[in-house]
């Protein structure tokens, strides 16, 4: 997948990701971008190590979860294969893993581990 520009820091290696295959680097980059959006929305309550099974509503006020998709669209637009989220794509009942997985899917990248 072509990335328009990249700002992936070597520090991202500090977080252990177990992605495998040809798209592993893309998966790491997307995961980092998504986690940065989630961290901002939750005042840093969500981090790269937050469990995929955690409900987003434990960290973000439910009626503000509706704005996540706009910030994700801004953050992920640098990926050439990215297809924008719609306003109804991310529900207030979503988990952190749901959003990470949705980001990989919208970037048309298959990631072996989230």
């Amino acid at each position: 997948m072509a990335v328009k520009k990249t700002n992936v820091s070597p520090k991202s290696a500090a977080v252990i990701h177990l992605f495998e295959g040809d798209s592993a680097d893309d998966c790491v980059a997307i995961r980092k971008d998504v986690d940065a959006v989630l961290a901002g929305m939750s005042n840093n309550a969500i981090s790269a190590t937050t469990s995929n099974d955690a409900l987003v509503s434990l960290y973000i006020i439910p009626d503000k979860i509706q704005f996540l998709y706009v910030l994700l669209n801004q953050a992920l637009s640098r990926y050439s294969t990215f297809k924008e989220f719609q306003s109804g794509d991310i529900k207030a009942t979503a988990t952190v893993g749901d959003i990470r997985d949705a980001a990989y899917s919208h970037c048309n990248v298959k990631c072996s581990h989230t």
């Binding site: 009626d63 704005f67 306003s87």
Partner: protein, 288 residues
């Protein structure tokens, strides 16, 4: 037959339901959903259905909801075009409300900070039918809602509290209506003005509180009406009989969640054809 001011109703809250999500390429941006209200302040509020049968055998009911379709566009899909149809029927209250409307809405979300503080602009054109007055009206509205402070969130728990202020400018043209039986005046013409509202919500474990207060100040009124500030207040306290889920696995394992809500509404809203009334309801709810 006496109509009780305070009623006990048994109802079902139908949580926000995604009716369809088209996958075809030309319809990728299109969603259709059931929601409580036609505006966009809180699209996840439940639709309501309540029923009461009193000792005299008279049945009353209330139902409020909206059917909406969304089409997203603009930078980051931050704008949404929303055709909708909405209804509000309530014969439980001291003065009945019975109206329906359909129209076109436009919403634009301006995200101000990384933490999701946002200013949401909304506008709409709609047609409204007020069955209680046998009147028809055209409505134009434009407003903005602030999603930011004051708010509070407990990290790692569902607990939170937030207040959302909204200001709306409107004009409502009533073009057909029945003449008032006592004054003989036909209440047609244009009402315009501003509405300021505060919507508050808080969750503490199994308990949740919601409150809404609005003041409508008309600058112009229809024939036979007088200018004064119309106020409408709605408050509810809900208790759910099970703890809220903390993980996705718990959420999937949770089936229908029973609860009980105490709802109190007082006042009127001539813009949305809600007649002056006050009522209290104790409602059994089921969320899923």
């Amino acid at each position: 037959m006496l109509k009780k001011t305070n009623v006990i109703a048994i109802g079902i809250s139908l949580m926000f339901a995604q009716l369809s999500h088209a996958q075809a390429s030309s319809l990728d941006d299109f969603t259709l959903r059931l929601a409580k209200t036609a505006d966009n302040k809180d699209a996840e509020k439940p639709a309501i259905l309540g029923y009461q049968r009193n000792d005299g055998g008279v049945s009353n009911y209330m139902t409020e909801g909206a059917l909406k379709a969304d089409y997203d566009f603009g930078q980051g899909n931050s704008a949404t075009f929303t055709p909708s149809a909405a209804w509000n029927h309530n014969t439980l209250s001291t003065t009945s409300t019975n109206n329906w409307s359909y129209g076109l809405g436009l919403t634009d979300r301006s995200i101000v900070t990384k933490s999701g503080d946002a200013l949401v602009y909304s506008g709409s054109l709609s047609q409204q039918r007020d069955m209680t007055k046998d009147s028809n009206a055209s409505i134009v509205k434009a407003g903005a809602t602030w999603y930011g402070w004051p708010e509070w969130k407990k990290e790692g728990a569902p607990d939170y509290a937030a207040i959302r202020p909204t200001i709306t400018l409107f004009t409502k043209h009533v073009y057909s209506a029945q003449a008032d039986k006592t004054t003989g005046v036909t209440p047609t013409g244009t009402m315009s003005g501003a509405v300021v509202s505060l919507d508050a919500a808080a969750v503490f474990g199994r308990w949740s509180i919601a409150a809404s207060a609005q003041a409508l100040q008309p600058s112009q009124v229809v024939a036979g009406d007088t200018k004064y500030t119309h106020r409408l207040s709605v408050a509810s306290v809900t208790y759910q009989f099970v703890d809220p889920p903390l993980t996705g696995a718990q959420q999937k394992a949770t089936g229908w969640v029973p609860g009980v809500s105490l709802i109190r509404q007082v006042g009127d809203d001539p813009l949305n054809a809600v007649n002056r009334a006050g009522y209290t309801q104790l409602v059994l709810t089921i969320q899923y």
